[in-house]
């Protein structure tokens, strides 16, 4: 009797729990599944409106599409590397300063993070352009004589993107570094390691999950970048999102634009899949140990 009651109670609870996930399921379906499915189906529609592979065939016939993907991955990769190089020392510094001071230094990381991306991008243009502040200053000071091309190219794009992406690298890095037990470093010294040895053999390996998390976030966000390369690239750095806009704005070709979106989505998934084989994504993303 009791057992039966317990069982039915258990079943009720299970049903209730399942029911509780329904709103989440509905919203995921509405927000993600349907639009992405629609994107996929649009990409298989030809000019005439029938099923066709022409949008994908075009990507093979015209080299521009391949080049645009190459540029996108290249820019994202370089941005990620530079973010690690700049972000690691910064995060290390943040993890070492006394707790009371962290807030103040954190503001310097977060303040740009809270400023509009568009504003920061145009600010870089003002600084980097031919008659911009940096060139004018350097020429007035006699550091160089003719303006150096700082913007409207790959370098300008990278500068802007690294600046915008840096917080996305620093925050997970800082979180990972904070979790590192200080006593492990002391133990290393106790066992005769020099500070440099202790850093490389103890601290760096323990901070790697943070590096992986930051790199993944930065890299994947970079793949979809639009504003910064559009403004600072001067039309020479064409990334996938810009190509999609161009196709929509100018050719009004939803099929071709969707196909590009699909390919970008799929390559990103493949990239994540590969990453998850080599890294323990769960522990990186959700802080499990």
């Amino acid at each position: 009797m009791n057992e039966k009651l317990l069982k039915s109670a258990e079943r009720k609870e299970q049903l209730l729990l399942t029911a509780l996930t329904i709103p989440a399921l509905i919203s995921v379906t509405l927000i993600i599944v349907i639009p992405v499915g629609w994107l996929f189906s649009l990409s298989f529609l030809g000019k005439s409106g029938d099923f066709s592979l022409e949008n994908y065939q075009k990507m093979i016939v015209y080299k521009s599409y391949f080049r645009v993907f190459k540029t996108t991955f290249n820019v994202s990769f370089l941005t990620t590397i530079f973010c690690i190089l700049l972000g690691y020392p910064l995060a290390y510094f943040l993890s070492q300063v006394p707790k009371k001071l962290v807030g103040i230094f954190m503001i310097t990381v977060l303040l740009p993070f809270w400023t509009s991306l568009l504003v920061r991008t145009y600010a870089w243009l003002v600084l980097l352009q031919k008659k911009g502040m940096i060139n004018n200053f350097a020429i007035d000071m006699g550091i160089w004589e003719t303006p150096i091309k700082l913007a409207h190219n790959l370098n300008g794009t990278l500068v802007g993107m690294i600046h915008i992406m840096l917080p996305f690298m620093v925050l997970p890095l800082y979180a990972a570094m904070q979790r590192i037990d200080r006593q492990t470093m002391q133990a290393a010294s106790n066992l005769g390691a020099s500070p440099i040895q202790a850093f490389w053999q103890i601290f760096v390996p323990l901070s790697l999950p943070g590096v992986a998390a930051g790199s993944l976030i930065v890299f994947i966000l970079c793949l979809g970048f639009y504003v910064t390369p559009a403004v600072l690239g001067g039309g020479k750095v064409i990334m996938v999102s810009m190509q999609i806009t161009a196709i929509l704005e100018d050719q009004f070709n939803w099929g071709a634009a969707s196909a590009l979106g699909v390919v970008l989505l799929v390559t990103t998934f493949i990239f994540l899949l590969l990453a998850s084989r080599f890294l323990k994504l769960d522990s990186i993303m959700f802080g499990k140990h």
Partner: protein
């Protein structure tokens, strides 16, 4: 706390109704940003709205692809939209525009080839080569550039260049003329076997000198003001206005590409009839006659030239003035209708190299 759908529904419905009634009789007029939209406000829209009593909402960011999107999704919110002649032709072909009612819009005094069944010319403009006058001299002075061949001549005119991004309109013709082909044969050349490729090869020659690609008229002006580039293609009125703002810029109408902008009404526009009336109003000579004061684009209504109070120098600076008219190449809508897609794909390919 229970969220009340009823309340929410009523609130939404009421606010929609209110918003709807506030704008029910206002025509949404959409133009471009920068000095172009401002010039149209000053010369055309404000006065035409006051005289006709038709209220308008002014918006910026006009684009035919947005119009087509609105029409396709059945959610048209624009009534009267500014577009290039080519964009209008393409949108009309796709069934996205309302037919013009010529009983409401009087085109009897219009210049030839400045209107179609789906769009009414607002102004005549030219795609010109413009340069930094401090570097290459004032237009018309000895040694100053005077042709597209000069645009390509980086030895005589060393410096940076700028061409259009992601859009092939007005990109290939200059390259063909720079090859020494006379203006009247440009479209025959481009239509011939391999013509487009040859034009793009010519642009490729210039690639090392192209420091930035422009995306809009506002950007053309900005690039010249900032002295970011020395020689650029673009729309003549933008450069005159940049000059007024202090930019050291000049251009020539020699071998320039003559074209017109126009007004179109999206299919199923919410205030279609009122928009047609307003279109009839702004197309009147008395408003167009004021346009040259604000931007050097020529009126499409011939009567405007007779009644305008603009000084002679200003009238002579318009692309539609007979003195300039004959020096230019008229943009061929036919050629673009047949070749635009392929040409654009090839140009995009070049851009990604």
């Amino acid at each position: 706390m229970i969220f009340s759908f009823k309340k929410f529904f009523y609130a939404t419905a009421c606010s929609t109704l209110l918003a709807g009634s506030a704008f029910a009789d206002a025509v949404t007029v959409v133009s471009w940003g920068g000095s172009y939209g401002k010039a149209q406000d000053a010369a055309l829209f404000t006065d035409a709205s006051r005289d006709s009593g038709i209220a308008i909402n002014r918006e910026s960011g006009a684009s035919m692809s947005k119009v087509m999107l609105q029409v396709e999704s059945g959610a048209v919110i624009w009534d009267l939209v500014v577009t290039g002649s080519g964009g209008a032709a393409n949108a009309a072909k796709n069934g996205a525009l309302e037919k013009i009612d010529f009983n409401v819009v009087d085109v009897s005094n219009f210049l030839d080839n400045t209107y179609t069944d789906y769009c009414i010319g607002s102004d005549v403009f030219a795609t010109v080569g413009a340069w930094n006058t401090e570097k290459y001299g004032e237009p018309g002075t000895p040694g100053a550039p005077n042709s597209w061949a000069d645009f390509w001549d980086v030895e005589k005119y060393p410096g940076t260049r700028s061409l259009r991004l992601n859009n092939v309109d007005g990109v290939l013709e200059p390259a063909v003329m720079a090859m020494g082909i006379p203006p009247e044969e440009v479209y025959d050349f481009l239509s011939s076997e391999g013509g487009i490729d040859k034009a793009i090869d010519k642009i490729r020659e210039l690639k090392p000198h192209i420091s930035v690609y422009w995306k809009s008229g506002a950007m053309q002006a900005q690039l010249m003001k900032d002295e970011e580039v020395d020689f650029i293609t673009g729309w003549n009125g933008r450069f005159d206005n940049a000059k007024k703002d202090g930019a050291k810029v000049g251009y020539t109408f020699n071998q320039a590409l003559r074209d017109y902008d126009c007004f179109a009404i999206p299919k199923g526009a919410p205030n279609k009839d009122l928009a047609m009336k307003f279109l009839g109003e702004v197309s009147k000579a008395k408003y167009q006659a004021n346009l040259p004061f604000h931007i050097t684009y020529g009126p499409t209504n011939k009567e405007a030239y007779e009644i305008t109070t603009a000084p002679k120098e200003l009238i002579e600076a318009l692309p539609s003035h007979p003195k300039n008219f004959s020096k230019m190449l008229a943009v061929s809508l036919d050629w673009y209708a047949n070749n635009r897609e392929v040409a654009l794909e090839k140009y995009m390919e070049f851009l990604s190299e």
